[in-house]
């Protein structure tokens, strides 16, 4: 276990592949697809890191994990040190190691990626995080000095949990309010078991609770308590209630039976475990042919869920081409392996139903790509007379979500931007003193890791604010 290996030797090692379940077997089950590195694979992969003096990978990470440091500890075989290093930078590494789009963040910046394959930073992060659960007693750090300051966090998704984790580390007293019966936000209701096992989320949350984070479930801010009540009781409030309001297409037939928002479909299956029905009480309509409208990660999660529930055909209907899909490359690849069908350059115009008002099909129009829009993506333009019908019995609408107005509508003094999101600066500061916000409620629907980055930055801002107060 020597670090004395030369750069030349490091460069000779090839990127280690992530062991994964066979595609045919896994397409029928909800267990995790990626199986994780063994210690041997992890050490080999860690030795590929060139330990750059000015590491570009760190700048690519929204929570600024000191990547070469923890990787070097792995290469040296000191996993406890690797875990302490990683956990010091990132409150939820077992989650980010699984769901981050590393290929567009840390790994795209990796020097080794310029002339070959980047270091598998995400897989290594996941390996260290998983290891640290099994041997938690080896990763103990000293408790912080209490500051006596009280902070309320609204929402227990990635932004809220990260902020809570950082704030207790700084010695503050933190209470997280969650509207649902389980903490985790999109990590428990949105991202499916086969991508992020719920046991992992539970363990990450328990680790935060052991560190002192208090979590109160079944509390809906805007109904159970108002923001103003929280402001009176706490020294600071961090709003991280996400973008949980589903967008529908506003086409005829959208209220037929068998039409779901991706939020409802995934909540039933993930949070309520409808895939176990009738062992679990919550039902879901199991389609023989499932059509999912959209091209993001949520659409991929929904279509792969449909396949696992037993659909013989599960299809993505997307109005642009594969190149423009916002979903992670790995998820698209996994979906293809699992036999997911793709209809590109197609947009629904109507959902068709039978006499009993159950879905029977999706009437679509073919599109072609026109000029680039404001986001730089070429806008789809309908081809006249190209209507056709995709036969299906379940339609899942996964075309995005917006800020849920439930909280903000009960606090008119909180400034919003044009999209109905909370107006907060890059450090999470809103127009109200002591009120901070981050994650999807500020950005609109984005990624888990961006929300976590916001949570971490906001925690630092809040800490600075409380020290001045």
């Amino acid at each position: 276990m020597s670090t004395k290996i030369t750069t030349k030797e490091r460069l000779k090692i090839e990127r280690q592949a992530m062991p994964e379940q066979d595609a045919t077997a896994r397409a029928a089950a909800f267990c995790e697809v990626n199986l994780g590195f063994t210690e041997k694979l992890a050490m080999l992969e860690a030795q590929r890191c060139l330990l750059c003096k000015e590491p570009k990978c760190v700048a690519g990470c929204p929570v600024m994990v000191n990547i070469p440091r923890f990787i070097q500890f792995i290469a040296n075989g000191d996993l406890a040190a690797a875990a302490r290093s990683l956990l010091g930078d990132n409150a939820l590494p077992a989650i980010t190691g699984r769901v981050c789009p590393q290929e567009t963040q840390c790994e795209i910046e990796c020097i080794r990626g310029l002339k070959g394959m980047s270091v598998a930073i995400g897989h290594l992060e996941r390996f260290v995080a998983d290891w640290s659960y099994r041997l938690a007693n080896q990763v103990v750090t000293a408790p912080p000095q209490p500051t006596g300051k009280k902070i309320a966090v609204i929402g227990s998704g990635p932004a809220g949990l990260t902020a809570a984790g950082e704030l207790v580390k700084l010695g503050h007293e933190v209470t997280v309010y969650e509207a649902l019966h389980k903490p985790g936000g999109v990590l428990v209701y949105g991202i499916p078991e086969f991508r992020l096992p719920k046991q992992i989320v539970k363990e990450e949350v328990e680790r935060l609770q052991q560190a002192g984070v208090k979590i109160e479930c079944n509390v809906v801010i805007g109904r159970t308590y108002t923001l103003q009540e929280l402001r009176a009781r706490f020294d600071a409030v961090f709003i991280a209630n996400g973008a949980g309001l589903p967008t529908f297409m506003n086409v005829p037939g959208e209220n037929l039976k068998g039409v779901y928002s991706a939020n409802e479909y995934l909540t039933r299956v993930n949070l309520m475990a409808a895939y176990k029905f009738p062992s679990a009480d919550t039902p879901v309509i199991v389609g023989k042919r499932v059509a999912v409208v959209g091209g993001g990660n949520v659409a991929m999660d929904a279509v792969r869920t449909g396949r696992r529930l037993g659909a013989s055909s599960a299809m993505i209907v997307y109005r642009r081409t594969k190149k423009e899909m916002p979903a992670r490359a790995e998820e698209i690849h996994h979906a293809e392996q699992e036999g997911i069908l793709f209809e590109f350059l197609v947009a629904p115009v109507e959902i068709l139903g039978n006499d009993q008002r159950w879905v029977t099909g999706l009437k679509c129009r073919r599109m072609q790509l026109g000029e680039p829009d404001a986001s730089g993506r070429r806008s789809p333009v309908p081809i006249p007379g190209s209507e056709f019908v995709i036969e299906c019995d379940v339609v899942v609408v996964a075309i995005g979500s917006r800020a849920n107005p439930l909280l903000t509508s009960t606090c008119p003094e909180l400034k919003l931007n044009r999209n109905g999101n909370i107006a907060a600066d890059a450090n999470g500061m809103t127009n109200l003193p002591g009120v901070f916000a981050g994650g999807d409620i500020v950005r609109g629907a984005a990624t888990v890791i961006l929300a976590m980055g916001d949570g971490k930055r906001a925690a630092q801002t809040i800490d600075g604010y409380l020290k001045k107060a």
Binding site: L180, N218, R223, T224, P283
Partner: protein, 283 residues
Amino acid sequence: MHEVLSKKQLSPNVTRLDVMAQRIAEIRQPGQFVIVRRGEGAERIPLTIADADPAAGSIALVIQAVGKTTRELVALNPGDSIQDISGPLGRPTDLIASGRALCVGGGVGTAVIHPIAQGLHRQGVAVVSIIGGRSKEWVIFEEELRKLGEVIVCTDDGSYGRKGFVTDAAKDVLAAGGVDCVYAVGPVPMMRAVAAVTKPLGVHTIVSLNPVMVDGTGMCGGCRVSVNNETKFACVDGPEFDGHLVDFDLLWDRLGTYRAQEKESMARHEESCRIGLEKPKAV
């Protein structure tokens, strides 16, 4: 955890549970509901807050046992607990400020009418309640509503009060005039019928819709209804809407979405109770 403090059988299949929920008891308003999840593996269901005792910290849930989940809830006894109660949810009822209101309750909907009548009574509105059931033993909340104003009881078979549907009694009260607003809660056909009676008379009519819900906070749209040809989420935009603008056909149709699964779940539940191989899940 929310302890069950007391239990009372109100009619052959309607049970009242008073459960601990301090915060909700203090701030709930007429028209609001809670989402209840009995324990691990259970589903989330919406239940109206029929009454509350802020001093005791309890709320009253009135439950009609129609399927597995509601049967398991009414099987709870004082001392047992409900794991999750979230709320209060939904927009409070738009109560008229003065005048005379007609409150129409059908079946278990009578329990939902009660807090609305309470709210109206509190601000000095004259309340006339029309409540109904199949026969005498199915009439609920009569005593509570009598404290708030005049009550007309109807039974389908005439075994108690006036024979006939609540809509017939409502027609008579409306014909006599002097009604400023109608609040109707009950089965979909009943609310539809009441709205059909009041529409030609131009009397504002508020109904409380009962679609399938999951989260109850506006994040899934499972409870979407059509009001004035616009899609609304009953959990956050409602549950109460203008009865003259509601698409009752759509509501009725969507309520049947899980009929097959509900039957399956119920059959399995009955089977396991009968043969006693599976103990009911602990809460």
